[in-house]
């Protein structure tokens, strides 16, 4: 390449001077946008897949090579450079802008996250690679080649610097990935629209071009406006990890976060499980009941819409029927449809022995006439931090439950932390006793929560269980027995009975947990 080549006559660029300095501002902006998309993709991949070195390296590698491909492809564009440039901006705006929301959806709803990731990185890289060569060719009549190269490349690198500083310091903490990517898509589209003014003389029918710009801007703007539904900026400050899924069902806000190689489910901001250690919780919740009543055939699960308790239940070959009653269809759908949930619960809710009922468990056990008595009931409700949950821990609930059980049935009840909320824990135990159950409280460590407690109960007297299935990840015959011993700081304290008309547990629970938050 030399200066003489740049003198070749080319279409409509002749005779109309362009405002080169304003176009250099575009260079700065598109350079910043280009780097942001790369950072978004790299960050998102490390969040969701872990191993950030690998993710960033592969994303950068694919991205840079795609840029090379774009630069190479630019030589096949001959005519209408200005028009191509505007189109290019709009394409980058759409693909780059929507990259983060698309990737989150792909992660939550498909098995094809990696192909989607690299296809998007490839596409954005190729388009970004086309931008600078085309812009330089547009400007070559206005600026001497050596100045052109110097200025364009300088601004390109400064833009990249600005983006790389803004991203970790301002954009990620304040906006999060989804809004950052949409915002920079918007910026790309704005550059496109602005170019229709700067390059007016070189463009064909302006009205259609500008209309396209406006449509793209509107799409991204709507995306941005709707982004709060997906992730709330406020929430991102609460959750330490990236939100990969969020949904407001009529009953609760379901949020899933992902980070450090595991994922977590939150209901109304309260952690329900972390994939890292939920096996400890669910093994402890389920297997002691079977140890007391081996050969149980009919199992009732109240709550537990994540299907993780059912996964443990189905490890017992004698089980013939499991009825899971969970209030929220959004929760049970997520457990059956979302790939990472289905992987974790091993498709438990899709097992032919399992029937899922979406109903308020208390109303269901009071009104249902279709199911025969159960041998085991697993009661796995969120902690009693609201009256609508507190009712599920009352004598009324346990009495209604007892009516649905065989005379020697066994129940296990998740009962919050005997360490963090000692009175609440023993209040649940006392309430079960007041409802006519014999109880055996127990506990274990679930690092994501704290020390966690359960109450094993039966209408008939029973002994502390000593045997469990082989091949569990946490529970063994030895650790089973150990769970039933309470150290001094968690030992029994006197507690009131939780009734519908006093709901003492909700008050106890909120005041006890307040100390830890």
């Amino acid at each position: 390449m030399d200066d003489s080549e740049s003198a070749a006559p080319q279409g409509s660029t002749e005779g109309t001077p362009l405002n080169a300095s304003l176009l250099f501002i575009s260079v700065f902006l598109i350079a910043a946008c280009g780097l942001i998309y790369e950072l978004v993709a790299g960050t998102l991949a490390s969040y969701l897949l872990g191993d950030s070195v690998l993710q960033f390296s592969t994303v950068i590698g694919v991205y840079l090579s795609a840029m090379g491909l774009g630069s190479y492809l630019s030589k096949f564009i001959h005519r209408g450079l200005a028009q191509r440039f505007v189109d290019l901006e709009l394409a980058v705006a759409l693909v780059g802008g929507f990259s983060a929301p698309i990737l989150f959806q792909a992660f939550a709803h498909t098995h094809a996250f990696r192909p989607t990731l690299y296809t998007l990185v490839m596409a954005v890289g190729t388009l970004v690679g086309l931008e600078i060569p085309i812009l330089m060719r547009i400007l070559r009549h206005q600026v001497k080649f050596k100045d052109l190269v110097a200025q364009v490349l300088t601004l390109d690198y400064i833009g990249a610097l600005a983006a790389s500083l803004l991203f970790p310091l301002l954009l990620m903490p304040k906006l999060g990935l989804v809004r950052t990517s949409l915002l920079f898509g918007l910026l790309n589209a704005a550059v496109g629209l602005w170019s229709t003014f700067l390059l007016k003389s070189q463009l064909g029918p302006l009205r259609m071009t500008r209309l396209r710009c406006v449509v793209v801007i509107a799409m991204l703007g709507l995306g941005l406006a709707g982004a709060h539904r997906f992730t709330l900026a406020m929430e991102e400050e609460i959750f330490s990890d990236e939100i990969v899924y969020a949904k407001d069902s009529p009953y609760q806000r379901i949020v899933m976060t992902r980070g450090r190689g595991s994922f977590q489910l939150f209901l109304n901001g309260n952690l329900q499980f972390s994939s890292a250690d939920e096996y400890r919780y669910h093994e402890a919740l389920v297997h002691p009941t079977f140890a007391v009543k081996p050969g149980a055939k009919r199992i009732l699960v109240c709550g537990g819409g994540d299907g993780l308790a059912v996964r443990e239940i189905l490890k017992h070959s004698g089980v013939e029927r499991v009825v899971l009653v969970d209030l929220d269809p959004a929760m049970t759908q997520m457990a059956t449809q979302m790939p990472m949930m289905r992987d974790l619960n091993q498709g438990a809710l899709l097992d032919p022995r399992v029937k899922v009922v979406n109903a308020d468990a208390m109303i269901w056990i009071a009104e249902d006439r279709s199911e025969a008595p159960f041998d085991i009931a697993i009661v796995d409700f969120p902690d009693p931090n609201a009256y609508a949950l507190g009712k599920l821990y009352t004598t009324r609930f346990y009495k209604l439950l007892k009516r649905r059980l065989t005379p020697d049935a066994v129940v296990s009840v998740q009962s919050t932390s005997p360490l963090m909320a000692r009175k609440s824990f023993w209040c649940i135990n006392t309430t079960l006793e007041a409802a006519g159950f014999q109880t055996r409280p127990y506990h274990l460590a679930v690092p994501s929560f704290a020390v966690w407690g359960f109450v094993l109960a039966s209408p008939r007297p029973f002994d502390v269980p000593r045997k469990t299935l082989p091949d569990l990840r946490h529970l063994s015959d030895e650790s089973m027995t150990a769970m039933f011993a309470f150290p001094k700081d968690m030992d029994r304290v006197p507690a009131e009975v939780n009734r519908l008309d006093n709901q003492v547990l909700v008050h106890l629970y909120t005041s006890e947990w307040k100390r830890w938050s």
Partner: protein
């Protein structure tokens, strides 16, 4: 723009303070939901008053005729049935029995049309304990013989909340932000109540018992009826705005009157009669989705064969031989029917007795009947598709808006534990103005839209998006919702006289206690039944 909105709000809340300002909204409001305007049969009332009805062909002989199927009439019938006495008929002019304890039902829930709870009785209130036991509400009795109530029938916690300063707070009395003087007065008032709870007369009777017939009539108790609740509070230096609001709310809610139109006896009764001993909590409340309709259903089940609904008693004539001629209008067949009764229990309001018993009207004189003013009420049932937005303390059973002329709303699905999705709210508004008759004329003139506007504007203070959630809004207008225990009424010669039988016509109604409570209506029903059975042996 903001100021305009605020002004409109202020205007509307002021408007709601004049109970009938709904009239003003009538022209402009269009609601995206429908509903019905229910109320007493006005035509029927006129027929009775004009006396222009044809005579019946013959008079069917009957032992006892009960005129009126509210709680008093039904309780009389229930008592007869319990005693094995079957020679009676109960006539009710409406298509359903229950009076102000009636209820409705739709696809979402059953709901009350007015009365919606009773305080859990102690063993002393035998008849109510017996009734509740029959209804399956009592699970057993403790060592001292006190009934143990089913958890599901006691109001579920949280029971009350109040909307104030843009959000909901727990309880009816707002403790947040009270001054030391507020605290002092609040405690002083309840110390005074405890003093009365502990008080016994020389016959070991409590000052305030339920039903009131079991309480004391000692001079120091009677003296409380001579002054208004307001005068009583003034004399003791109670000035706390919060406390006075709570007390005013209490009397509006239970008596349909204000501090200055309520007897001090009634004001103290409200608080003292609900406590078993000094320092104790008030008795828990029993309630059901359909309110006291739950009790009505049971009472009706006991006497259904001898109940005739759609029979409006238009004339009662005691005859010289001791029998009583009763004329009624069968509203379904539009014909007059006659009965020749040995005894009659008139189980309606005192004022109505004056209208259908000409001899009584003559004997007592016009002024006598004017001693029994009754408060009209507007009760609306709102069927909601979903729960509206709100801030603060979560939905309770009873939800009261602090700056409102209304009494707030009760959630019908509270006891059925349905905490999500569709529900029915029962909204109450007592027309507690100084002139009940004028209030009633205005209420009777309001159409559905005017009533709906009144309700929606009030609820919008706490739930700005309420309108979008309403599937339907049914309005019940009660002309004689409850008698007003004005100062001087409760120990008046008129009230004493009204309880006395009149030429083989016996009287049973909560009017005869001076305030409308289930226990009072039941007490009078049983007393009248006893009077009649004593005569018949």
């Amino acid at each position: 723009m903001e100021t305009v909105v605020v002004k409109r709000r202020t205007l509307l809340s002021t408007a709601a303070a004049l109970p009938l300002a709904g009239l003003a909204c009538r022209r402009s409001r269009r609601f995206p939901f429908g509903g019905e305007l229910l109320g007493p049969s006005l035509d029927l009332g006129h027929l009775v008053r004009d006396g222009a009805l044809p005579e019946p062909d013959h008079f069917q002989p009957i032992g006892v005729l009960i005129a009126g199927g509210g709680i008093a009439g039904l309780s009389a019938a229930w008592h007869f049935e319990g005693a094995g006495f079957r020679d009676y008929l109960l006539l009710e002019m409406e298509s359903e029995v229950g009076g102000t304890s009636r209820s409705g039902q739709n696809g979402v829930s059953a709901y009350p049309l007015a009365a919606h709870y009773v305080p859990a009785p102690t063993k002393e209130i035998g008849p109510l304990v017996k009734l509740l036991d029959e209804c399956g509400v009592i699970e057993g009795y403790d060592a001292t013989g006190e009934p143990i109530f089913g958890e599901q029938d006691v109001v579920r916690s949280p029971d009350e909340r109040i909307f104030f300063h843009g959000q909901w707070w727990e309880g009816l009395y707002l403790h947040a932000g009270e001054s030391p003087e507020d605290v002092r007065q609040y405690q002083a008032f309840f110390r005074e109540i405890d003093r009365w709870v502990a008080w016994k007369d020389s016959k070991e009777r409590k000052a305030f018992a339920l039903p009131r017939s079991k309480g004391s009539d000692a001079p120091e108790v009677r003296a409380l009826d001579a002054l208004s609740f307001k005068a009583w509070l003034d004399a003791r230096g109670f000035t706390s705005e919060r406390l006075l609001w709570l007390l005013d709310y209490a009397v509006r809610d239970d008596f349909g009157s204000r501090l200055d139109t309520t007897s001090a006896w009634a004001g103290l009764f409200y608080f003292a009669a609900r406590k078993q001993g000094p320092g104790e909590e008030s008795r828990p409340l029993l309630t059901w989705p359909e309110g006291n309709g739950f009790l009505v259903h049971h009472l009706l089940k006991c006497c259904r064969e001898r109940v005739r609904t759609g029979h409006a008693v238009t004339r009662i004539e005691p005859r010289a031989d001791g029998t009583v001629l009763v004329t009624a209008w069968n509203t379904r067949e539009n014909r007059a029917v006659g009965f020749l009764a040995q005894r009659v229990i008139f189980a309606g309001p005192v004022q109505m007795a004056g209208r259908v018993i000409p001899a009584l009207r003559e004997a007592r004189g016009k002024a006598f009947f004017e001693a029994f003013p009754a408060t009209p009420w507007l009760v609306a049932n709102l069927t909601l598709r979903n729960r509206p937005k709100e801030h603060g303390f979560p939905l309770a059973w009873d939800n009261v808006i602090r700056h409102s002329a209304g009494l707030g709303y009760v959630v019908a699905t509270h006891q059925s534990l349905r905490d999500h999705g569709p529900t029915v709210w029962t909204y109450y508004h007592a027309l507690a103005g100084p002139d009940p008759k004028a209030d009633w004329l205005k209420l009777a003139a309001m159409d559905w839209r005017a009533c709906a506007a009144l309700v929606v504007e009030d609820l919008r203070k706490a739930h700005p998006d309420i309108e979008a959630h309403i599937a339907r809004l049914d309005v019940m207008r009660w002309g004689h919702a409850m008698i007003r225990p004005r100062p001087g009424l409760l120990f008046s010669p008129e009230l004493e006289l009204a309880r006395q039988p009149f030429r083989n016509v016996h009287f049973a109604h909560s009017d005869l206690s001076g305030f409308a409570l289930f226990e009072e209506a039941q007490d009078h029903g049983i007393r009248a039944a006893e009077e009649v059975m004593a005569f018949r042996g």
